[in-house]
């Protein structure tokens, strides 16, 4: 018996090529927004109703003087119990049973955006300021229900992102973390029991992104 799908994002294999970020824009027909360089390679600076997938960059120096540069290819985690849905009682947000994808519909216009956003442990929902409709990653619902893998996963050259049946992904995550622990004692999968988009990190989650493991 399948338990829907999951995506594994193994940050230890991510090179920040940003293929996923661009592929997401391409598949979803999202525009390139006007940006400026704000002193980091990260751009856009945040998710938006036009940016569902964003590679976040975090850098610094470890106590031993060695550099780190962490890449966190962020998207909706597609929670098993989505916090954004708390007040969505009229089908504004759909939790697809078969895939497990959490989908914002055009009815999200009528939801209280702040409540939905605050309800999300990962600060994912974004709103079109004009139409008030809410947007985020759809797990490429139109692709995964048509025998294709999500566009971001498809674009990933290193295997940092893998899509598949949830039980298989959970097993992969577990064995990968075991493997990584030999070199990185802090290696862990982030909230694998709660989310479908499971991140593996090798350092403290807040060294990637402040909400990497939740608010």
């Amino acid at each position: 018996m399948s338990d829907g799908y999951s995506i594994l994002v193994d940050t230890s294999k991510c090179t920040a090529c940003r293929g996923c970020q661009i592929a997401c824009k391409q598949w979803n027909g999202l525009p390139g927004t006007k940006t400026k360089n704000e002193g980091t390679h990260q751009n856009p600076m945040d998710l938006s109703f036009e940016t569902y997938k964003l590679v976040r960059y975090a850098e610094g120096t470890h106590p031993d003087g060695k550099n780190y540069w962490n890449f966190f290819s962020e998207q909706c985690r597609h929670c098993l119990n989505p916090g954004c849905m708390a007040e969505a009682e009229k089908g504004e947000i759909i939790h697809d049973e078969k895939t497990g994808a959490v989908l914002f519909t055009s009815k999200t216009k009528s939801l209280n955006f702040e409540t939905a956003r605050e309800g999300c442990p990962y600060d994912i929902p974004r709103q079109n300021p004009k139409t008030k409709e809410m947007f985020k990653c759809t797990m490429c619902f139109d692709r995964i229900t048509n025998n294709m893998i999500p566009a971001c996963v498809k674009s990933c050259p290193t295997g940092a992102m893998v899509f598949g049946e949830r039980d298989k992904i959970l097993a992969d995550a577990k064995s990968r973390v075991e493997e990584l622990k030999k070199s990185y004692p802090k290696a862990q999968a982030l909230n694998p029991d709660d989310v479908r988009v499971i991140y593996i990190v090798t350092d403290a989650p807040d060294k990637y992104w402040k909400f990497a493991a939740g608010k």
């Binding site: 661009i22 390139g32 002193g39 751009n43 550099n67 540069w69 962490n70 050259p157």
Partner: protein, 808 residues
Amino acid sequence: MTNHWIDLRNSDCILVMGSNVASNHPIAMKWIQKAKDKGTKLISVDPRFTQTSARADIYASLRSGTDIPFLGGMIKYLLDNDKIEKDYVVNYTNASFIVGDKFDFADGLFSGYDPEKRSYDKSLWAFVKDDKGLVAKDPTLENPKCVYQLLKKHYSRYDIDLVSSITGTPKEDLLKVWETYAQTSSKDKAGTILYAMGWTQHTVGVQNIRTMAIIQLLLGNMGVAGGGVNALRGESNVQGSTDQALLFHILPGYLRMPSADLATLEDYKKAITPKTADPMSANWWQNGPKYAVSLLKSFWGEKATAENDFGYGWLPKLDVGQNCSWLNLFDDMYNGKIKGFFAWGQNPACSSANAHKVRQALGKLDWLVNINIFDNETGSFWKGPGMDPKSIKTEVFMLPCAASVEKEGSISNSGRWAQWRYKAGNAPGMAKPDGDILADLFVKIRDLYKKGGKHPEPILNLKWDYVDKKGHFDPHLVAKEINGYFLKDIKIGDKEYKKGDLVPGFALLQADGSTSSGNWLYCQSYNADGNNMARRKKDDPTGLGLYPQWAWAWPVNRRILYNRASVDLNGQPNNPARPVVKWVDGKWVGDVPDGPWPPMADKEKGKLPFIMKPDGVASIFGPGLNDGPFPEHYEPLECPVPSNALSKQFINPTIKIFKGEKDQHLTCDPRFPFVGTTYRVTEHWQTGLMTRWQPWLIEAEPQMFVEMSEELAQLRGIKNGEKVKVSSVRGEVEAVAMVTTRFKPFKIGDITVHEVGMPWCFGWITPKDGGESVNLLTPNVGDPNTMIPESKAFMVNVTKIEGGSKNV
């Protein structure tokens, strides 16, 4: 690449130096990750902590322009600790060769230097030969004049303290890299090096690569799976364009470009045919005349006859010693010696070092034809910043061309795989494939020559049958021409070939005019088996990822070059776990071997493995290069230190220094105190000509930036994200300051040296506020062997912008 992309997965240690593979060749990381999955160590050596460094097991920093000390120190480490593959070194390299008494090295100079000509008399570096012409050798490697001992002596000066004081690399990091890489001296371990423009774009560019080649030979890493010296090419087909003689000094297939002193075909054949007295040397280039005559037959068909030297006289000739490389070409253009210029698929107004001089040079032309898929800073130079269109006489023509996916043909990747591509769609509007533009041009030019003109024969006699019935360029006809044909019925051995048959492989090419081939290296790419470049079979019989039925690799589908160096004298793999080739029951199995001969244990028929070298062995001592037979450290033309810590010779003594008004450079000058370097980003391709129009990419990397350390930012009072001015003696650009922990100041002896880095993907045409080309800053000085500009190490200043530095 001596090896190929997939082969990276076979490596036990991957050194990335002079390259940022994760950013610039992102797909390569697929194979590197596969290697890492099985425990391979990834080492990143770079002035800046890069995306590659972020994934590396070991990172070491070094000041730009100090790769030779870093690697020279590694050579010393390998020799001091006997971390070499001795059988390999003795049997397959020139380590045992005895060098003549006239060779010497003192205080940074090799013997034979002429300071007026800024060049060496290389005859002083010759090997000792006996009366039969055989090189004297000492297989014990003990003779003080043998290459091995000279190497040891040369690099004895590169001790770790001195190296660290030049490179700025902490000693423990140097040792960690050396120790880790040295582990590949074991026969069952392979190490590979990935490099790119970070090594080539220096006044010691060739010698950077030579230093690593020496290391690879000492470790026995050439010819093996997971080894090799691997140049990551910067464009999808730059390997193909080089093979096909994009450069001025070669004809297709790396045949030497004739010079005026080689008046006849006989002269030329003699000049391109190396001699060896060693019966064990295959000396493959002795076949050069066959390839040259086949090329002439390809150019001029039936008009090329034995009586007229197969049209050799129609080939253009270089003046003796003439160098027509990029920097000289634009110097000539600047000085008004060049009247017309085709800028074909390029953007020199942004890509060229000292781009300001290039932009001025374009204004000296009568005409400029800009062939590209977008308008660019080159075609529109006349209306660029600081230009007065009214005062520029150059007439500019823009010819829109098809993009790569809008035409059919082959591309040759870094791994020498020629892969055939189909056309995905038609080019928009009036845009045409390059082949059609060339074909149209040629017909027009020929028509004009029919009416008269000087020296018309090369054009009027040219064989030209590459268009289809509708007059369109046909890539299949050209691909077959490149492969080559039999031009008459012929029997070779017991096999008969008919006139018009495609030649099966280059071993059958002839010097008597009975065969043609547009490029001998590609002979076999399109033959009776069909278009081998279009093959897409995924069989992998060796399990090494060679995929011999996928596309086609030159030469003769060999996937790993020099593979006969991967076996012992009996043809048995040095590493049985990853056999590339193996001698079994009287024949080779595995990859296509470097020639059919039996292993070297067969004293009569066996051959040495490095078949393209006249000696049959690889050159640890390289007496052919312009700046010395061993790599030696010299500071970049512009550098932050007042002297060379290794010798009195400050800069490479053989570089050409241009002396015009636009050719300025300043070294160790307080006005330009910081080292500058340049690089690419994943999101933009080369000068950004294609990618700066793409909204998703420009969203991700929107503006010219300069990366600098927190320490430097503090020194200059610069805040992260503010706009600053970066200047060199040649020009200035505005850039957004990226203050980062990924650059750290270098401790060079007693002084602190700061380095900054900038991408070269921006230009004034688009986007608005995107910024200008960093090449307005870079110096037009080149490597003495290749003349590639020193874009990777030069001196700049970084300052706040007075009266307002807020980013738009």
